[in-house]
């Protein structure tokens, strides 16, 4: 190794740093130039998962009382004030008892006649709820709750499920204790043939069904145990138009039947195409008010331009606190047409 004069040293050292770095990284990397090291801030921003052992759970706390305020503003419009609503999503709360909290098995899950299964009846790990609320709620504005908000909302939900008392404050330091109260904490079974690894996560068994390839006279006769119920015959629209109109078969109803229904009202089609109907029913509230409810409210008033502005810019407070998101992609002419259609009573045909 030769020596440089002192005068050259700083310049050389500066030049050498990137060279060394590059040489080092190509020696370590199989794919030089591909990808870069993630910064701690980047990892912190995206690594948000919380495991059943609560690894990943950020510090924080929130009370039932605080949770109720957030709930009523941001959650109740879909889930109902008491988490019981099934209009938009499956109910969150209901179906569990004090006894379940003792045993860790929800007794109603054994009943064939029990209608529906709420989230709190099924979930065994409290971490799942914290993680999911934090990453995906509220539904139309995911990842906007603070950590303390998440603790508060979860505290309120647990209170609705009668797992924690009214004056409870949930925090990272007591969440493990609440886990021990989860009504279905012992309700998961990991012994089956359907996990594709050998990691010990699941105790592998042979497949639980054991059919054979019998080819002749396999049973005395074939008995039909179930047929399509009458209501389901038409529940999926005109079957005649759901299969290619040539080939081996036709769709049922094509033969001399009534012609396929004429298209929807074009403005109704526009409402569907523009995504309005995801949140607004024709007559009933889904997330936002039903169209005919809007028409009734403004009957006899000249509100077209006001509502067009509201559609374009979004808003909240008139029909509840669930905000209507701004419809920035909607053309002005379409917004006009939609508002006029809504105020005319939202005819579908």
């Amino acid at each position: 190794m030769f020596k440089f004069s002192n005068a050259m040293k700083p310049a050389f050292a500066l030049a050498l740093v990137p060279l060394l770095f590059a040489a080092q990284s190509s020696a370590a990397d199989k794919y030089p130039g591909v990808g870069r090291t993630a910064t701690p801030a980047e990892i912190q921003a995206w690594d948000i998962d919380v495991r059943p052992d609560f690894k990943g759970l950020p510090k924080g706390s929130g009370s039932v009382e605080q949770g109720q305020v957030i709930w009523e503003n941001k959650c109740a419009s879909c889930h109902g004030t008491f988490g019981e609503n099934n209009t938009v999503f499956t109910p969150l709360v209901g179906g569990t008892t004090k006894e379940d909290i003792k045993t860790g098995n929800v007794a109603n899950l054994k009943r064939n006649d029990y209608p529906g299964r709420t989230t709190i009846m099924k979930v065994s790990s409290l971490s799942t709820l914290w993680d999911y609320i934090h990453r995906a709620m509220p539904w139309n504005a995911p990842k906007t709750l603070s950590n303390d908000d998440v603790y508060a909302v979860l505290a309120y939900l647990l209170n609705l499920a009668e797992i924690v008392p009214d004056d409870f404050t949930l925090s990272n330091s007591n969440i493990q204790d609440v886990q021990k109260l989860m009504p279905n904490r012992n309700g998961m079974m990991r012994k089956h043939a359907m996990w594709p690894g050998k990691s010990g996560l699941v105790t592998a068994t042979p497949p639980d069904t054991k059919n054979t390839t019998c080819m002749t006279n396999c049973k005395p006769n074939a008995t039909v145990s179930s047929t399509l119920p009458d209501y389901a015959q038409t529940s999926h629209g005109e079957l005649a138009t759901q299969v290619r109109p040539f080939g081996q078969t036709r769709g049922q109803g094509a033969a001399g039947g009534t012609p396929a229904k004429t298209a929807h009202n074009p403005d109704y089609a526009l409402a569907e195409k523009s995504g309005c109907t995801a949140c607004h029913g024709i007559n009933q509230k889904i997330v936002g008010p039903g169209f005919t409810e809007i028409a009734d409210k403004y009957k006899g008033q000249d509100v077209t331009s006001k509502l067009v502005t509201k559609v374009k810019n979004g808003g909240s407070g008139v029909w509840g606190s669930m905000p209507m998101p701004p419809q920035t992609d909607l053309k002005d002419s379409d917004a006009q047409a939609l508002v006029k259609w809504i105020l005319s009573g939202a005819p579908t045909q």
Partner: protein, 467 residues
């Protein structure tokens, strides 16, 4: 309709006549006066009626409902042959008229459809692939079934990132961020695999609930996927490959997460995929990046993939602890049920369809297994009393759809069509009776029972269940 039935050619000689396939003509196809003239022998009306039929085909679908043979003139033959047609006598369209090609306008009935009433929003919902109208094993990308949890976005690929890190810092020595440029420079593989939602056929656990194969089995698609084996990315980050799990996370609102076993990463099955059927992944399917986990239910194929975490414990994510858990008879839920077991379904003929006449048909359907290759498919036309071995189209690939077919002469009597698949582990697809005996009827997920289609004497095919 009687008047239109009279339209069916008088004096039709044998050979041209196929009365069984004739469907009653739609209303207004010919006016009563025209019908009268035809019955009086005015043949020139036939050509006019064809013009009407062609016009109807352009705007609607009724032309095809009218069987061609019904319009064949006994003495001369088929006007579509005898009369020069527009497409044969005028100049057609130029290249790149459709810079991105679309299906024929006559294929407008072949679309994905939601199941009305299944969900209250379109953003947390499903649309089903029209299996009844598809051929072979590859799903046309525009017909691939959709399942979104919080809506979909068309993400700008220049803004999309994939991060690899560890649940503990020591699990991944050099956590990294990759752009699409980075990922597409890596070594790639292309493989054909099926993807099936764990809840496919879920509506049918207790009884028949939906009319057609689109709704019973349409949360099923199969594509050629191109991407980087996840193992290469993990090794590039210095990951500890002895850890048992990886977590996959999406970039969408739901930030979907699922636990994936490291074994499937180590054997190079798990891909970080950007290509689908020769083009980029469609936005509805996760553009620009999704995880491919062959044989495992679709929910694990995380779309808009933004992060992979190497971990030493499972994650019990929302779709591993609230949904995608299988309720058994004793009130316990099976957790981490991921494999889609061996299954098959007849797509033609199938529920909601009609056989127009007696005679020859080719029964056609799909078989698949999340454990490997399809070894055998048997078809029954008597509800499972007797079976015949179906023909399998090649190539037969692991964890991919396999097309089967069987010739069938329908004698016009009632029949119950079934298919039963066997995979190369020897597993035989169960009957409804067998499946319910071990799992009850409330599981929602992983219904792989033998599907039955009842054929009535009038040719109507409908969804039925046989234990």
């Amino acid at each position: 309709m009687a008047k239109n039935e009279e339209l069916i050619p008088v004096e039709t000689p044998e050979g041209l006549k196929k009365p069984g396939r004739i469907q009653k003509a739609p209303e207004n196809f010919l006016t009563p006066t025209e019908v009268e003239q035809v019955t009086k022998g005015r043949r020139d009306f036939l050509r006019g009626s064809f013009m009407a039929a062609v016009a109807a085909a352009v705007t609607g679908r009724n032309a095809f409902a009218q069987d061609a043979s019904a319009l064949v003139d006994a003495k001369t033959g088929d006007p579509y042959i005898l009369q020069p047609q527009t497409w044969a006598t005028t100049l057609g369209k130029g290249v790149a008229t459709a810079p991105y090609g679309l299906p024929s306008k006559f294929e407008s009935d072949v679309i994905r459809r939601p199941s009305p009433g299944l969900t209250q929003t379109t953003q947390s919902s499903v649309s089903f692939s029209p299996l009844q109208s598809m051929f072979g094993i590859i799903t046309a990308s525009g017909l691939h079934f959709e399942r979104h949890h919080q809506g979909w976005y068309d993400i700008d690929p220049s803004m999309h990132r994939l991060m690899v890190n560890g649940s503990s810092p020591e699990f991944v020595k050099k956590p990294k961020v990759y752009t699409m440029d980075d990922i597409m420079r890596m070594p790639f593989v292309s493989r054909i695999h099926f993807i099936e939602c764990g809840a496919n056929t879920g509506m049918e656990w207790g009884n028949v609930a939906v009319p057609t194969v689109q709704y019973t089995h349409g949360m099923l698609s199969c594509s050629e996927f191109t991407g980087v084996p996840l193992r290469l990315l993990l090794e590039d980050c210095g990951a500890d490959m002895t850890k048992k799990f990886v977590l996959a996370e999406g970039a969408d609102g739901s930030a979907m997460t699922r636990t994936i076993p490291m074994e499937m990463v180590l054997n190079d099955e798990v891909l970080v995929a950007y290509g689908m059927n020769g083009e980029m992944m469609r936005p509805e399917n996760g553009y620009p990046l999704r995880l491919v986990v062959p044989g495992v239910q679709g929910v694990s194929w995380v779309k808009w993939l933004r992060r992979i975490e190497v971990g030493d414990q499972p994650y019990a994510t929302k779709d591993e602890a609230v949904h995608y858990i299988d309720l058994m008879k004793d009130g316990q839920h099976r957790q981490y049920t991921s494999i889609q077991e061996c299954k098959s379904v007849i797509c033609t003929p199938s529920g909601g369809q009609k056989l127009l006449e007696k005679g020859y048909y080719t029964i056609s359907g799909l078989a698949w297994s999340g454990r490997g290759k399809i070894k055998q498919v048997d078809v029954s036309t008597d509800g499972g009393v007797n079976w015949k071995r179906a023909k399998l189209e090649t190539p037969i690939q692991s964890k991919a759809l396999t097309r089967f077919s069987l010739p069938w002469n329908w004698d016009g009597k009632t029949a119950i069509l079934q298919s039963r698949a066997v995979d190369d582990t020897g597993f035989v697809q169960p009957s409804y009776g067998q499946l319910r005996a071990v799992r009850g009827t409330r599981s929602i997920y992983h219904n792989n029972a033998i599907q039955s289609w009842g054929v009535a004497e009038n040719g109507d095919v409908s969804n039925v269940q046989v234990l």
